[in-house]
């Protein structure tokens, strides 16, 4: 087991087990709680993939469906055990991963053992599949009437050709009809292998004790089949149309979704750490201290619904801006002017220096909060960021590093979706 440091007083114990599972343990003994997350590299995008040049497919929504089913694996309701032991367990599926996580104030080991029991082997009944379909249909219907979600999805479809980018993570009522026990077996065989997963534990624990105890668990003693890496192909061809406008008299206010695509050649430049650079860049651009914010406020084009954030996946990225406002036409005109100024603009060094100080404070606060600590490390691991150097790398970021992103704010990379009354 290796012990490495993120900060002087934040150590991570890292172990790679013989079966391939990577385990990260982050002791924080002054806290009452412990958090644990088991992450699987399998998400909403994985309905078409290859293994050893052989093509496979799954019905859309399988990853999310499987996430539900794994709470009823082998006829056993996983959450029952956690509830009885005063722990909280939950899960979510994103585009590229599934996460099973729990928190507890009590003994962690029995809970970890139970969690790992659940992923050692798999058995699903048709009855449970049928029951879960009904529940998931209700879940999918929840977003059917959300105009905001529809507008965002329209934006993704406008920018990207590849279905794996814009398809609903949960699939559709139609696609999940095809899910059965056989489909779930294919998914678990191809993705639920220790080499395709990792475990992160943060809290009041003794790493040595945990690792020692886990070594004898069937999840680690079992002979796993050879794992063949999954490869995914994505079509990042640029689309011609950049604007989509829909009139809908049922709307109460207009919705604007903007995407500024990071061009493929920039996105795949391995010298650029997008996960570490785009967030500070975009935060600065839209902070209350910024020119953009000042102009929008002065023209009364900024309101509670405004949001701006980078979207960085492992195969594509873009900057997203959205707002709900009756003054959507004016907003679009003004924001375009402001954004297209960026390639030639000099960012304010005063704001940048202040921002860097705030990031130091935010890092201290994050590690001072057990849940935030856990979420931060999880996010960095998911994003493929080196957790041991990210603090130093972040400290070295300069305004010059942002020029490459400033340069992409041109009409060629600008996409607009507007839903108007």
């Amino acid at each position: 087991m290796e012990k490495k440091y993120i900060l002087e007083d934040e150590a991570i114990y890292e172990e790679v087990f013989p079966n391939g599972l990577k385990v990260y343990i982050h002791p924080k003994t002054k806290f009452v709680q412990t958090f644990a997350s088991l992450q699987v590299n399998f998400g909403g995008r994985d309905f078409a993939y290859e293994i050893n040049d052989e093509k496979y497919s799954l019905p859309k929504g399988t990853a999310h469906f499987l996430e539900h089913m794994l709470f009823e694996n082998k006829g056993d309701t996983l959450s029952d055990f956690f509830i009885k032991n005063n722990a909280d367990i939950n899960a979510y599926t994103s585009r590229n991963l599934t996460s099973y996580y729990f928190s507890t104030n009590r003994e962690v080991l029995p809970l970890l053992e139970k969690l790992l029991d659940n992923f050692t082997d798999f058995e699903f009944t048709d009855e449970n599949v049928k029951k879960e379909k009904k529940i998931i249909k209700q879940e999918l219907a929840m977003s059917d009437d959300s105009q905001e979600i529809k507008a965002y999805k329209t934006l993704l479809k406008l920018i990207y050709k590849d279905e794996s980018i814009y398809e609903d993570i949960g699939g559709s009522k139609q696609s999940i009809k095809a899910i059965d026990a056989k489909v779930l077996k294919q998914a678990t065989d191809h993705f639920y292998h220790p080499k395709n997963m990792y475990l992160l534990i943060t809290g009041n624990i003794d790493p040595i004790e945990i690792i020692k105890a886990l070594k004898s668990h069937p999840y680690f003693t079992k002979t796993w089949p050879e794992y063949d890496n999954v490869t995914r192909k994505i079509n990042l061809q640029v689309k011609g149309k950049h604007t989509y406008l829909k009139h809908d008299s049922s709307l109460d206010t207009n919705i604007v979704e903007i995407g500024i695509r990071i061009p493929n050649e920039i996105f795949h430049n391995t010298d650029l750490n997008h996960n570490l650079l785009t967030k500070p860049f975009f935060s600065m651009l839209f902070s209350p201290a910024s020119r953009i914010y000042k102009v929008l406020k002065a023209k009364k084009l900024h309101n509670f619904s405004f949001s701006a954030s980078p979207v960085i996946e492992d195969d594509y990225g873009f900057f997203n801006i959205s707002i709900e406002t009756k003054k959507s036409k004016q907003f679009v005109k003004v924001i375009k002017e402001l954004l297209f100024e960026l390639p030639n603009a000099t960012l304010d060094d005063k704001i940048f220096k202040a921002y860097k100080r705030s990031e130091i404070g935010n890092a201290i606060k994050a590690f001072d909060n057990i849940k935030m600590s856990h979420s931060l490390i999880k996010r960095l691991l998911n994003d493929g960021v080196d957790i041991y150097s990210f603090v130093d790398v972040s400290k070295e970021i300069s305004l010059a590093d942002f020029q490459v992103y400033q340069n992409i704010f041109t009409p060629d990379n600008f996409y607009l979706v507007e839903y108007r009354q």
């Binding site: 209700q138 919705i255 902070s287 009364k300 404070g361």
Partner: protein
Amino acid sequence: MNIVKRDIEGLNLFYLPSKKFKTIDVAFVFTNSLDIAEVNERNFLTEILTESTKKYNSPEKLSLICDKLYGLDKTCNYHIVGNTGITTFLIKTINDKYLNEDNIVSLSIDLLLEIIYNPKLFQGKIPKKSTIDMILQTEELLLSIRQNKNAFAYYNFMREYTRNNQERIGIFPITSHFANLNNQTLTESYEKMINQDMLQIFVAGDFDFSQMDKLIKEKMKNKPSLLELKSDLTPVFVGDKQINEVTDTTSNGQTRIFIGYYLDFEHNEKNALLMTIFDELFGGYEHSKLFQNIREKQQLSYYVYSRYLEDNHLFFVNLETSKDLRDQAVKEVGIQLKNCQNGDISDEIFEQAKQNLIKRLEKSQDSQTKMLLHNILNYLKYDQVFDFESKKTAILAIQKAEIVELINYIKTDTVYIYTNEG
């Protein structure tokens, strides 16, 4: 966490010492007797005061100084408990011990005082421009709420549910009072808060008491500080003899159901605890009556939950389902409540609900801010420190029979359905 009242003349000052965290939380809590006519103003003030000040006279300047103070977190909120309005200003700052600078805490408190006591004014009043901006933003917010069907359903439900209690429960924004709102009324509300509200100051973290005494005393010199106020924090809900059934329609989508109840019993500390436990076992977690029966057994809904709002003595159930399952879902909620009222609550669910509450209280010890807020409210309501062990003992002592007796006084008040026309 214990609480220490400081003996400083002219100030209600409390310290919550803790060596566990690297931050210091400072809260200024203003309380007043609720005046429903100024609920909009009080809510607006929480935004206007934290947006700019006399010295930092634009959001840009205020944001910049907060960033320079290592990302100082500042929040302000207004909420109603019983017949009392509470405005809480809260900052979270990094303790100087963990930085290479030694005056960040002092500067952060200065900024908090600047926000509270030095608002940006024009000719002695909150600027008209700020007022108009806030009104416009709120109107846009209402449009966004209308567009978000979940938010819209909840907003309409709460207005229906509290229809007989408008003088005591102000659901912001109170649009009927907008016409009277202007920078004059905002300024009056602000001056009332500063001069007539009771002020209590709380500081949580790892610091030297006498140094902090000196700091606060110096910074609060010449600032008004009302020390006492008879506040009534007991919520009262006026129910109705007839059930209020309201159905609103929209063009498409799922059916949202809210059922609001009249709690026909006195609100006191014991009954609030009984209701909190009942809320948990009825619709608070995966083994609750509602979750198990409505979602797991009958697959009527992806989510269903109950919520007890102790501060206003409100209790409701919410779920979302398809139109064809609506009547079955409403009926099932009624059946589950009736079963509980007849004593059909397993020991397992009952004990688990208690353990869930204890677990949540334990967890809050991992957050200095949560512990601070628990203490503020506990002090206001019961004039005592929030003591985890006493709370735990009280929860464990509760008997099932006490809950069953109490919940027989729960009556359906409002059934609100937001469904599609199709």
